[in-house]
């Protein structure tokens, strides 16, 4: 039941942020919502209820490394799609590996 609730809350909050990004102009400004704390708000609020504050604070600490990896990922997308005009779908998917390597690398270096 907890996982179904997590799925529904996560899906709803992420969709709402995506909706806000759809209607905002200019596109560069709407892009800010590509890094909105949608998953974090959904997950942390449920984690707080089930696991407590210290557990959620520990997740938030690691999230800083995740956000740094997201920065690298977004710069990669900007360079390869916006400047070198690579195809959007395969490039955004392939660059997810940059996020994984970046996030795990920062975790291993500073948070382990």
């Amino acid at each position: 039941m907890d996982w179904i609730l997590r799925f529904l809350v996560g899906g709803t909050i992420v969709s709402l942020f995506a909706l806000v990004a759809d209607v905002l102009k200019p596109k560069g400004f709407a892009g800010l919502f590509g890094a909105a704390p949608s998953v974090a708000l959904a997950t942390l609020s449920l984690t707080l209820a089930s696991e407590g504050k210290l557990y959620a604070a520990m997740e938030a600490r690691s999230m800083i490394a995740g956000a740094a990896a997201l920065f690298l990922y977004a710069l990669g997308c900007l360079y390869l799609i916006g400047m070198k005009h690579f195809k959007a779908a395969p490039t955004t998917l392939a660059l997810l590996s940059i996020w994984v390597v970046g996030a795990l690398g920062l975790w291993a270096a500073f948070l382990r």
Binding site: F7, S15, V23, K53, R61, I64, G66, A88, A103
Partner: protein, 152 residues
């Protein structure tokens, strides 16, 4: 440049595109929880900043911009990719604010009420993201402004 709301953009989005975002958002929230359960909150927390819907949103943006140009009889491939580039630039700026959001929660959550901390962190994210965007716009404006020649 002024920030505007374009409600007509909602009509461009198909029902299955809304469904895709909902499913991806739900799946990454569940995945983040499962990873935290299996490997601990230290690893699970990384996935709170996973770009869950960016690939789907970028692909849709590329498609919509391309179709808009093609309806006007123009090739839209480059236009679509430039729009995705702008979106990615925004996401890069937003991710800096996201790190501040996470930092506030990490430092303040053990000492203050949870709803207040989440609310304050979210307000900080909005304010900081907009400030970074504005500073970049100002920087671009100032760097493109022609320099005045002073008479000797």
């Amino acid at each position: 440049m002024k920030i505007r709301i374009n409600w007509a953009a909602l009509r461009q989005v198909k029902w299955y595109e809304y469904l895709t975002r909902f499913l991806l958002g739900g799946l990454i929230s569940v995945a983040a929880g499962l990873i935290a359960k299996a490997f601990g909150p230290s690893v699970g927390g990384l996935f709170l900043a996973f770009p869950a819907i960016f690939p789907a949103s970028a692909t849709l943006l590329d498609k919509h911009e391309r179709e808009k140009k093609q309806r006007a009889g123009l090739p839209g491939t480059i236009r679509g990719r430039l729009a995705v580039g702008l979106d990615a630039r925004g996401a890069a700026m937003g991710s800096l604010a996201l790190a501040a959001f996470a930092g506030v929660i990490w430092k303040m959550l053990p000492h203050a009420s949870s709803p207040a901390v989440l609310g304050a962190a979210f307000v900080l994210w909005i304010v900081l993201a907009i400030a970074i965007w504005r500073v970049r716009k100002l920087h671009v404006y100032l760097s493109r402004r022609p320099r005045r020649c002073r008479p000797r």
